[in-house]
Point group: none
């Protein structure tokens, strides 16, 4: 069983965009025990598409193709697949009705399936013409419904292989892969050998320090295999285990996972995609405490991260982005003379900001940030990367200083400062801070 992933798009082949879909799909296939043998990228040219598809149809058992399903002239996936399969293109009425229903509901038109296409066509003939293109599939193809976008995917046999064509938009592609492709692969009995990956995320220490304390776990040839990766200062262990069922694979991973949890207890913020915002959400939920923030140099990054977590509104009261001194005075009541005496980037102002956020939002705890994000604005005393954090809780207010590096770009300093502030709140909530 060999899979091939084909990513289509001139913006990919020219290097204008980095393709993240392929790595995501390869990982997802790997978790099903399906090994990926080839990645191929093609520009929006019929000869390239057909060449790549013809080759893949001979050497792979499963082809996952992303992109080229839109309604525009350079969207030629459906034409190329039809050409390689030796099939003509035919309109799939149910797909046309599904796309039309989406547009009709947005425009407040009746979505009665028997009339929706005709109704929409009366008012927007060009739109329906484009929808017809997207609903046109190679004969014998099964459409893969797209519940978050317009273009349906394609599922059909192509030479030796089965091919699934998915949209290039990552959010659409991922949903369609999970909801449409995986069940079909299961139904075909292609997913017996299971690989499980436990990704355990940590924050608060460097990658090499963590690695030095985990040499027994990461040594080559060990079962289960353990790798370490770093992404924006979040360090992750990945524990890979294989088995004939998910339970067996999990059981193989279990002792290693337990060792990691014991050894790195206070650093662990979650698993999978969980980062600090999910960890803070879980800790707030566990303690039933409310949260607020006052941000200067992070400029809304803390609030932005937290409010991406569904359900956070139960605990997150809100935040102030006090980017100007006037905002620090007017919205947070930071005294003018405090700003004048110590400067906006100071322990005193960080303390005043977090206390004001806690009291004004009526929250149980609050954090604050004030620092120099750069690239300009640094001084010898207060260089780029210097950030004061404040933490205010029922037990009192503390501040601490971070030195995130003068050489770091602005977005890294903002991101790191926000993560350190969230981590401080998490540690207090979990009882790791006295």
């Amino acid at each position: 069983m060999r899979a091939e992933i084909i990513a289509a798009g001139t913006e990919l082949i020219s290097g204008q965009r980095v393709d993240t879909n392929t790595a995501w799909i390869a990982t997802a296939l790997g978790e099903l025990g399906i090994a990926c043998a080839y990645h191929t990228t093609v520009g929006d040219d019929m000869v390239e598409y057909v060449t790549a598809l013809a080759l893949a149809s001979q050497r792979a058992d499963l082809i996952l193709m992303t992109g080229g399903l839109g309604p525009t002239q350079d969207d030629i996936t459906r034409d190329a697949v039809a050409a390689v399969a030796g099939r003509k293109l035919v309109l799939d009425e149910p797909s046309l009705i599904a796309i039309s229903t989406l547009f009709a509901s947005r425009r407040g038109i009746s979505t009665d399936p028997s009339r929706v296409v005709a109704q929409l066509e009366k008012a927007w003939p060009d739109l329906v013409a484009r929808n017809r293109i997207q609903a046109t599939l190679p004969e014998s193809a099964e459409p893969l419904p797209n519940r978050v976008g317009t273009a349906p995917g394609i599922w059909m046999r192509l030479g030796r292989a089965v091919i699934a064509c998915l949209p290039g938009v990552p959010s659409e592609m991922k949903i369609m892969y999970r909801e449409q492709v995986v069940p079909r692969l299961s139904a075909m009995g292609l997913t017996q050998q299971v690989t499980r990956i436990r990704k355990i995320n940590m924050f608060g220490r460097g990658e090499s320090e963590i690695e030095a304390d985990a040499l027994d776990l990461t040594s080559r040839g060990r079962i289960p295999e353990v790798g370490i990766t770093a992404h924006q200062a979040t360090i992750s262990f990945r524990v890979f285990s294989h088995g004939s069922t998910p339970d067996i694979a999990d059981e193989i991973a279990r002792p290693t996972v337990e060792t990691i949890y014991e050894r790195f207890a206070d650093l662990i913020i979650g698993e999978g995609d969980d980062d600090l915002e999910e960890a803070v959400f879980a800790a707030l939920t566990e303690r039933k405490l409310t949260f607020a923030c006052a941000e200067s140099c992070t400029g809304g990054t803390i609030a932005h991260k937290l409010t991406q977590v569904p359900g956070i509104s139960a605990w997150f009261r809100g935040g102030v982005v006090s980017y100007s001194n006037a905002a620090k005075q007017d919205l947070l009541g930071v005294p003018e003379d405090l700003l004048a005496r110590h400067g906006a980037v100071s322990s005193e102002v960080a303390a005043a900001m977090t206390e004001a956020a806690r009291s004004r939002f009526g929250a149980d705890l609050a954090v604050s940030t004030t620092g120099v994000a750069g690239p300009g604005g640094g001084t010898p005393d207060k260089p780029v990367g210097l950030v004061w954090l404040g933490l205010s809780t029922p037990e009192g207010t503390k501040t601490k200083v971070l030195r995130l590096g003068e050489e770091q770009p602005r977005e890294v300093i903002q991101e790191r400062a926000a993560k350190h502030a969230l981590n401080w709140a998490r540690r207090w909530l979990k009882g790791f801070e006295s």
Copy 2:
């Protein structure tokens, strides 16, 4: 002239690492006027390597391969290239001396070229054994010196193509590409032609609507070539032009670029990486006006986007993330009865929020958002995706409603709502809103 890029490594084919080398090389080749026709990724398996190289040696004129040059067992690039070329592997003495010199200087041993290998071998025989592997190249290959790492690259003819094998470590690969590959391509006369890419970004209309108004520009075979892509509702034209000098390529693109600017004037937000936050920053700077925001459903996304722009502190006063009703009342003074009568997600509350942000931050203009980001919290009246925006300026306050789609994930709704709010401010600043 067709180039193919081959990325080698099991960590790439399995999806554990996203390959950024290929996009970087494709862009760099494009700037030299060399079009990339294929990207291929292979796992660390000799059959896969040989198959991919044999195919590339038939269909490409230039092959850039990254990875597989190290000293370990899974580094098989040199073996595979030799096999496809029908050459044996031979030790390249100068390369062995160069690698040995690097290690000797780190260890304080004499770097006399006539003795360095023997000296190093006495103390570290295993090290020299590994270096020998790295200094072994296919017969007739030219080594590409690596001044920042150990493994030399490979430059040789392979079938129809010339191949350059470079290390997989991005920092080493980039230096070797610039210092070793580009001069050789120049010497071969392959780099006279320059490709320029103008990327013009727009917001406010859908991809297919924009395309419908640009069919004359995007038709196949037209010079310059124009493509359309979409990324998080930002739609981009890419204008590709070729010429013997950058000026000539620019001149070829100019009339098309002018047409785009005329035809889509009010939609255009910038070029290259510029998105709405840069457009708002530029417009605020041009008008010398200050800005504030009050965010509910976007939860800090607007502030977060704006404060990523260096220099925004001159114009951005700050924002309130009023995630709770209490915060809307206490920090923004939204009347309790307004919230009770109309609900937090309403035109009235959006208006009160933006007016409060404008007055409390003392800003010239302000925007607000209040909506249902989901996945929970939707009702038949106020479904997920319903967002009210407010815009308050010296000319008064307006509100408008967005329906971003019940089916959309939370992060898409937050992102889109924030972009629409920024775009509304941009349009007012640029005089496109009466």
